[in-house]
Symmetry: C2
Subunit: 186 residues, 2 copies
């Protein structure tokens, strides 16, 4: 196959953009930086994506579809502790995907800089839906908060850095799931 080296620019743009967005934030990353790191010009980037927002939108899309699957499953199963536990396990699987951890990082700390990015609003909606699907309609504030924290626990397990929690990636993920499941028990 002559196209072993076939990594088209479009994909490379997404790759580099995600890396920079996760690291320096959406606002903190310019198209110039993305282009520079790829050794192409800004205009070349604009050939592949009409706007900066379209890039981040593309980044969210796969992840969004994954969350949707989980929410759908949860809806069929109905609320309860077992549903919560299984949702969290599946969500951690989703986070284990190649670039999902970086997407999670971008989401987690980007509520302000992504405030007028349409895809980010969609994401927020999905997480609401996930919360509602796994807790009873009359759930207490503490119950709802626990589920939300469980999700954050998994996020931290996925992207927290060595400095903040000096253990192996594997160990960190395991601990995150453990704590998340504790939170989902009640």
């Amino acid at each position: 196959m002559t196209d072993a080296r076939r990594t088209d620019t479009r994909a490379q743009i997404r790759e580099v953009a995600l890396e920079l967005f996760a690291e320096r934030g959406y606002d903190g990353t310019s198209l110039r930086e993305i282009a520079e790191r790829l050794g192409i010009s800004k205009a070349a980037v604009y050939y592949h994506y009409k706007t900066k927002e379209e890039i981040v939108g593309a980044l969210f899309d796969d992840f969004l579809a994954g969350v949707d699957e989980i929410v759908e499953w949860a809806h069929e199963k109905g609320p309860g502790p077992e549903t919560r536990a299984e949702v969290l396990r599946r969500y951690q699987d989703l986070l284990t995907g190649p670039s999902a951890a970086q997407v999670a990082r971008l989401m987690q700390e980007g509520q302000s800089s992504l405030r007028d990015v349409a895809a980010a609003k969609d994401m927020k909606t999905r997480f609401f839906a996930m919360g509602r699907a796994v807790t009873a309609p009359d759930a207490s504030a503490a119950e709802q908060l626990r589920m939300r924290l469980a999700v954050i626990a998994l996020h931290l397990g996925a992207f927290m850095d060595q400095e903040s929690l000096p253990v192996s990636d594997e160990e960190r993920r395991t601990a995150a799931l453990e704590v998340a499941l504790e939170l989902a028990r009640t």
Copy 2:
């Protein structure tokens, strides 16, 4: 007292800046917006604060001092579940201060946009210190993660919006402390 209306510009700048930073992020807020909302010029803002970073630094200072007090107390007491619980109670008290919740919001989602703001690094250091002070040196990853999540729980209790958790402010704070203390128990 003729100076009942004495709220000097410097303080007003801090007030408005915090409001906007918390709402739209640090990068997402320009000095023009701050000046405009105060009915003064950008140059007037620069008279009071040399740089934008100095403003956010001033915002962090009071809060930082509050955290320092807590860390110092925790250090004297030594690690353990009771220390963790009391630290969290004191931290929530700190968060109940007039503008502390907004500072917390700014910190929470600003790791990327504040990446080269010196005061933010100081803050991160303090939170590390707090974690180390309340958990044993050989604490498991899960234990460390629980303490970190407990702090986040209090943050969410302080600034989460009505839409995300539709209960009263009082109820939300109470629930947050409840969950935080659960996390600190083990």
